[in-house]
Amino acid sequence: MTDTRYDRAPGDASALPDAEQGTSGAIVYTIGLVLAVGLTGLSFWVANTSLLWAGGISLGLTVLAIAQMGVHLVFFLHVTTGPDNTNNVMALAFGVLIVILVVIGSLLIMADLNDSMMPGPELMNLQMQR
């Protein structure tokens, strides 16, 4: 069998997929759950509170979402930066790059196109009336 020191299946907790994990594995998942619940609750609070400056809320929510994603990746999917996980992380990074290009690229382009569009009928009428 190929030495699993060098390579780990995505989702596998450690180099040796045997029964050793047992209770220590459950702790990892539990910590992940607690963190995720906390971050989720925080997100809901941030979205509804009036204590924070409104302009920063979107950014705050984004940061919290990224944190929650990180918790899932590390505690549930066991994605680490170890050398046995390189292929998995590279693939993930490639996927994230494409997602960013698609979403941000589309938003920027469509907003730019929108700026070049004529105003809608209501506004046009308004302008004509002036």
């Binding site: 069998m1 190929t2 030495d3 699993t4 020191r5 060098y6 390579d7 780990r8 299946a9 995505p10 989702g11 596998d12 997929p17 045997d18 029964a19 994990q21 047992g22 594995g25 459950a26 998942y29 539990t30 992940g32 759950l33 995720a36 619940v37 989720t40 997100s43 809901f44 941030v46 979205a47 509804n48 409104a54 809320i57 979107s58 929510l61 984004t62 919290l64 979402a65 929650q68 994603m69 899932h72 990746l73 549930f76 999917l77 050398p83 046995d84 390189t86 292929n87 998995n88 693939a91 993930l92 490639f94 996927g95 494409i98 997602v99 698609v102 979403v103 589309s106 938003l107 469509m110």
Partner: protein
């Protein structure tokens, strides 16, 4: 000329200079890596729907917007259900690793029930919106909303069907290597769905309610 005798043989663990020279990987790694790549492609598909939603978020065509339609309590319960089901799925993975049938079935049942609860709540939300005339045919914003969130819901549905089939496989075939590999793929899928949901509820619901 040195010739390797067979594929899956220990071809000298000790002197391997680099991982990329180790020869073909084990089936478990190959299968789960392939599924990992599939998941990434699925996430790219979600991002296209996401981009469409983001572009059309203001295109309400004079109809209702997110602020008027979304109920945060329901979303919070859905989020809790999905997160808890991810946890129970993780416990199920541990049970599979230690070959405990009873715990596996129990955790699978909990995962299924929580996932089904998520779907029921989501369908009720959709039905409620359609009943007040805010269905997907009302505006581009609503088309994009129903498609994005609905696509996620379809994936959850497919996951539940898959879970049932996997439990049937466990019952009939036991914890064979093929079955274990497929269960690993299932858990990857289920956790990825929760990750996508994090983005969905953050951007669609939480940010949508603010605007």
């Amino acid at each position: 000329m040195s010739v390797a005798v067979a594929v899956d043989d220990g071809v000298g663990h000790e002197a391997r200079p680099s991982a990329s020279e180790a020869g073909p990987a084990t089936k478990r790694i190959v299968v789960s890596y392939g599924f990992w790549i599939f998941l990434l492609s699925d996430i790219v598909m979600f991002s296209a729907f996401f981009a469409a939603y983001a572009v059309l978020a203001q295109a309400t065509a004079g109809g209702p917007s997110g602020v008027q339609l979304f109920h945060q309590r329901s979303v919070a319960i859905e989020t809790g259900c999905l997160l808890a089901s991810s946890y129970s799925c993780g416990l199920m993975s541990l049970a599979i690793g230690s070959r405990r049938y009873g715990i596996t079935y129990l955790d699978a049942l909990v995962t299924f029930v929580l996932g089904a609860a998520f779907l029921v709540l989501e369908l009720r939300e959709f039905a409620g919106m359609i009943a007040v005339g805010a269905g997907p045919q009302r505006s581009a914003f609503l088309s994009a909303f129903f498609t994005l969130v609905g696509c996620h819901g379809l994936h959850v549905t497919a996951g539940l069907v898959w879970l049932v089939v996997m439990m049937a496989q466990v019952a009939i075939k036991g914890f064979r290597p093929t079955v274990e590999r497929r269960l690993l793929c299932f858990s990857l899928f289920w956790h990825a769905l929760d990750i996508v949901w994090v983005w969905l509820f953050t951007v669609v619901y939480l940010m949508g309610v603010r605007s």
